[in-house]
Symmetry: C2
Subunit: 292 residues, 2 copies
Amino acid sequence: MFYIIGLGLSDEKDVTVRGLEAIKNSTRVYLEAYTSILMVQKDRLEAFYGKELILADRDTVETQSDEILHNADKEDVSLLVVGDPFGATTHTDIILRARALKIPTQVIHNASIMNAVGASGLQLYNFGQTVSLVFFTETWKPDSFYDRIKENADLGLHTLVLLDIKVKEQSDENLARGRKIYEPPRYMSIPLAVSQLVEIESLRVTGTLDPEKTLAVALSRVGGGDGHQRIVAGTLQELLDHPKEAYGEPLHSLIIVGKRLHHLEVDYAEEFAINRNTWRAVARDVYACSLD
Amino acid sequence: MFYIIGLGLSDEKDVTVRGLEAIKNSTRVYLEAYTSILMVQKDRLEAFYGKELILADRDTVETQSDEILHNADKEDVSLLVVGDPFGATTHTDIILRARALKIPTQVIHNASIMNAVGASGLQLYNFGQTVSLVFFTETWKPDSFYDRIKENADLGLHTLVLLDIKVKEQSDENLARGRKIYEPPRYMSIPLAVSQLVEIESLRVTGTLDPEKTLAVALSRVGGGDGHQRIVAGTLQELLDHPKEAYGEPLHSLIIVGKRLHHLEVDYAEEFAINRNTWRAVARDVYACSLD
């Protein structure tokens, strides 16, 4: 059996009991190490599982899936992924490959940011499509995310914005010279994300992402328990001005709040507000939320 | 500490290791028994956890939350919910109440249908807002879900439709007489759900839910492993004509496929198609998907 096992959001104890059993029964266990990151290191996972983990980078999962799937029709092989197995396209690829090789596959689900985002107090029913925001460069500023956020905003819906991660990237020079030397991992911070949003707003000028009038919620390490999880709410401008360190460690995500905002959502997320007065005032005056 | 612990989607082994530890350390453990159902009975959970479970129905969680929260500032108390704790509004209510009482709270996340729906092969990025569909009666046919599905469809997005559950409902007579006698639980079937969708389409006539031209995917017991999980794909008419038993046991959910459909999504879900030829033909001709 080929297992694809979601590890959840935080550390080694977020695996499910079903997932842990599958890991312990597997002859080979791969840890997918690029679409997201856990908050713990490989050796801590290995100690907890009592298993050696084989790191599977992008190359391995995308182009050498047959190596991972080798013999999985005769013995148990597991591929561990952070969050839920269906967060990233690449896992459907390897399942399709397993199907073609007639290898039985079982997916073991877990929490991912796609549902744990409810920790913000914003209702999952009120979210539209999820978007990704990539690091801008001087010459490359892809802005299709803006249209998606506007589509959601026009319907009054919230948008979950997933922030870019650069893991195992090569510099242009190392790439050109074929040197497998990798840059340190980079994770987009909340202030950088907001500055990119505001930059595109300044070009499009539709008012969808008004620094003073658009509310947003920043999330860090959701599910990480005390001392890890951070949730910060405010206007885009407040989030931009807030010290980077106050958002905690990566990974970060950002929610753009839609106009269908309910007063219970306002009450719940107020706990996380940089400035409770601004939070409530904008919710009342701009979002037309009925508040006491 | 007050813990709200997601149990995941299927059975007793879907709890996370972190969740299981919290349960074992709790002096009282409540099992929320109305917003959704697990596939296993209470006694099986109790045997696995080594703990007695106190059933908490709607009354208890919504109006008697202080009973659940009693002493949770001095000892550990857990409330177990199917899926993830932020699937239903009621859990934010009890967290707000705990906050008011200054009781520390920790949420332990898990998979829910909101992210496990990726098992269909449809990409989570391509989903719009989620809607709920309630049982129609002769005199009450609330149809606001239709507007939501149309909003999503107009953007080319998929819609997850959650089907109604009636648990612990009283008949009009028993309610009038104040008799606490409850009807057997009812779960909306896929053919009934589709017939309700088509009924509203016949009144609105926008073409959003065309029986022959709209693709949909039915899900049952996602994450339940072999012999439990069922996924069935086809046009609305095919799903309507398919035998009710073929969908497996409740709970069921339904996805209305949006026009932004990608050919990889078509390939993946083809495995679940009632008729592969129809599936591909509609994807190509109506959804304008580039297929080989």
